[in-house]
């Protein structure tokens, strides 16, 4: 059977690779996927008994087929209605229109599984983190240098004495700054008292610093609100716990930026910066892994402090950034576009009132504008729209931007583009999702260098 299949494959490959005219009568191979009908559990037996109960067939890299080939392939499978379950794997190609299986019903005839949705069914899902933790810990178990600790345990999340003393100094500075800011406002004084009360309950200087920085943002927000309503005498209000919680993440990021405190550390952050991609996780985790082993060999113990983790993650992100011109088509232009996007995101993220906590890490255009972009690309036009579409296509194909199509918000459907999380590390942005701003195509075109002739 192997020899038969091998012969058929050989002849088909020879025809595909041939320079000569194709002899239609001598064509070999088969024009349908008849093997799907042959592969049944009852046909695969040993000593008269079936070996398996069910058979699944997987077709990988379906995105590599041309549009016509792909359409024919899908049509063949649908019409064949094979007795086995068929898995098709394909990468979401950038800017390609979504194609459905004609004449079929989702759920009954086929089911679509997006790996992104699988790993992140909701924003708080930890499924991906659990999966990579499992992989990393299994690898760590094989290394003597980890001293039977798991990989995540070796990524320290607490600061050493030197850092604690620095953070205590920052605390004092922040507290003083807030007190100078509030002057005689009764509302703010009560807020300060509340934070001072909470300060007694925690021993972590980082937590204290975050609390002060959160308060500072809350004060700016409250003042801005008062200015808008022309209500100069602020009523006495208690701190809004929900808002405080939302602002807290921004406060941590602001602190890290202002006082150069490590921000990217701990296993959760390593998982977040992987953008649901195992390869990307390995590129970051591999470097941390090496460092843990080196530390262990130099008798410093396997625990990697937060500042070193932060340094390593930033270094890997920097390397990836430097590689873009070499590795990505029109790399310099892609870098220019991403840089403009990230600078915009930074501006929005680090606004004093932290309007979009934890920060902006994506932009979106309406689905109507997306269709316009697609049409310019399809028609092979040589204008700004096509140039932008081309750059975005490169970004998506090279895993620099993540796409969420048909995102509903404010009565509109959006085509959402999130930065790959390693870019967030490079540009000191938060790793959480959710913060994005709507833009027009014309805004985005300004971020792209025109393709000079």
């Amino acid at each position: 059977m192997f020899n038969w299949a091998n012969d058929v494959e050989k002849q088909v490959c020879e025809i595909v690779d041939s320079y000569g005219p194709i002899d239609k009568d001598g064509l070999v191979g088969h024009d349908s996927l008849f093997s799907l009908s042959l592969l049944r559990p009852e046909y695969i037996t040993y000593q008269g008994k079936p070996l398996v109960n069910q058979i699944s067939i997987m077709f990988d890299d379906v995105h590599k087929l041309t549009p016509t080939q792909r359409a024919n392939f899908l049509k063949t499978i649908i019409h064949l209605r094979p007795p086995v379950s068929v898995w098709l794997f394909e990468r979401l190609e950038a800017l390609s229109p979504t194609e459905t299986f004609e004449g079929t019903t989702i759920g009954r005839d086929y089911r679509e599984t997006s790996l992104e949705k699988f790993w992140r069914p909701n924003p708080n899902s930890k499924a991906f983190e659990r999966a990579i933790k499992n992989v990393a810990d299994k690898r760590a178990k094989l290394s003597y240098e980890f001293h039977e600790r798991s990989f995540s345990d070796c990524l320290k999340e607490t600061f050493d004495a030197e850092w604690e003393s620095k953070l205590n100094g920052i605390n004092l500075k922040l507290a003083e700054r807030v007190r100078n800011e509030i002057k005689s406002s009764i509302t703010f004084k009560s807020w300060v008292k509340e934070v001072e009360k909470r300060e007694q309950l925690t021993s972590s200087p980082l937590e204290k610093a975050i609390a002060w920085r959160t308060l500072e943002i809350m004060i700016i927000r409250a003042k801005r609100k008062a200015q808008l309503t022309l209500d100069l005498d602020l009523p006495v209000l208690s701190l809004d716990a929900k808002e405080e919680l939302r602002v807290r993440e921004s406060a941590e990021l602001f602190l890290a930026k202002e006082f150069k405190i490590p921000y990217y550390y701990g296993f959760t952050k390593v998982s977040d910066c992987s953008s649901l991609n195992f390869d990307q996780f390995l590129s970051f985790a591999g470097e941390l892994f090496e460092e843990i082993i080196s530390m262990s060999l130099t008798r410093k113990g396997p625990l990697l402090p937060p500042d070193r983790q932060n340094q390593i993650l930033k270094r890997v992100a920097e390397q990836k950034w430097e590689e873009i011109p070499r590795r990505v088509p029109r790399g310099r232009d892609v870098q220019g576009f991403l840089e403009a996007l990230c600078v915009f995101a930074q501006k929005e993220t680090f606004a004093p009132s932290a309007s979009y906590p934890p920060g902006v890490t994506g932009v979106a255009i309406t689905m109507e504008e997306y269709e316009t972009l697609l049409n310019h690309l399809k028609e092979g036009k040589m204008d700004g729209h096509a140039n932008l579409a081309y750059i975005i296509t490169i970004c998506i194909s090279n895993n620099l931007l993540d796409v969420i199509p048909d995102y509903n918000q404010g009565g509109k459907k959006w085509w959402l583009l999130y930065l790959n999380r390693w870019l967030c590390i490079k540009f000191n942005l938060p790793l959480g999702y959710g913060g994005w701003r709507g833009k027009s195509i014309n805004d985005l075109i300004k971020w792209v260098k025109p393709n000079k002739k």
Binding site: F2, A5, N6, E9, K10, C13, E14, V16, D17, S18, Y19, G20, H63, T66, P67, T68, E93, A94, L95, S96, R326, R327, V328, P329, R330, G331, L374, L377, K378, G380, M382, A386, N387, A389, Y390, T393, N398, N451, K452, K453
Partner: protein, 383 residues
Amino acid sequence: MTELRWDPYFLKSDDDFILFWEPYLAQGNKKILFVLGRGFDPRMCNGLRKIVNCGGGSVIDCLQIAYNEGPNSPSLKHQLNLDTNIAEYDSIVEQCNGQSVKTINMWSNDYPSRRRVGDRNAVDVVFTGIGEITPYTDVIIDISALPKGIYFPIISKALYLLDRGKNEPNLKLPNLFIFVSENVHLDRQIIDVDIDETPKYIHGFSSDLEREGLKDKPVIWIPILGEGKMVQLERIYNFVNPDEICPVLPSPSFNPRRGDDLIIEYRELLFDRWHIEPQNIIHGHERNPFEVYRQIKKTIEHYNEALEPLNNCLAVVSADSSKLISLGALLAVYELKRKNKSVGLTNIEAQGYEMRLKQGDNNSNHRYELFTLLLDGECHGYP
């Protein structure tokens, strides 16, 4: 080693070029098809100019190959250089018998998931059949301004047509010459821009390499090394996933230290990461593609012989070096393929090319050496 198709071989350069072409053209009764690429490379018209000066003008039909790299190609930056070349070409072609243009689209039109189809189009567009070349006594393909992805398939299609034509009685076949205007210095300054993520096999040289049924066979990779090709080499390595690597170094070469310099440049890649055995290194003459052809062919046959108990091996050749030396790779693979060996020729394309001349360096102060190679013809036993 089995018999060599190109032994003895015909290779002329510099003064010998004129010494051969002047009397050859003076014989009369010649009708020449001159194929050349339309590009920004300053060497585009060197070959045509020289052969016209040798007295061939009135018997030459020019076929210009234009290749469309798409609206986003970085090569478009060199429109001025291209215009200069076209102006020169127009002035030379006035002295010729006729001219035509054929365009090769490097990309498919199925946006947005477009694919590279340049090699396939080159095979289909340039010589559609034997009838296109038999009216001529000589076909000259000048590859000086053509990228590998185009000239490899054009030359191999021409060889294929001639080989098929030999089976047809009473068919008068033309001689097939290749012109290369060689300048290693300039080659280094023409940089691949936006290199493709994935290499591909040149059309006509892939069949066995992509077969699922042969996935277990050992793979030998023979990369011809050239300067500044780290990314290309890494990507081809990942694509080919070889079991054994035999890099080809240009030696002897015009710069006697060139081989050493390449070893220094790729030391980490070759020895620290790929763990290549020093005895695997092949030395190929920088200015003699027939020598390179001989070396590569010998190596592949040797591996096939040694691995015969394991049902032979697959061999992949890649050429990221100068045009002349790259021709050696094509000849070796073409011949072995004709002998039903499992060999492939891989190439990694770029979105376009940029000429980065150093300060004080201009096109006119480059010294070019024009080579002419005879790949098929009367001296190879034509009827």
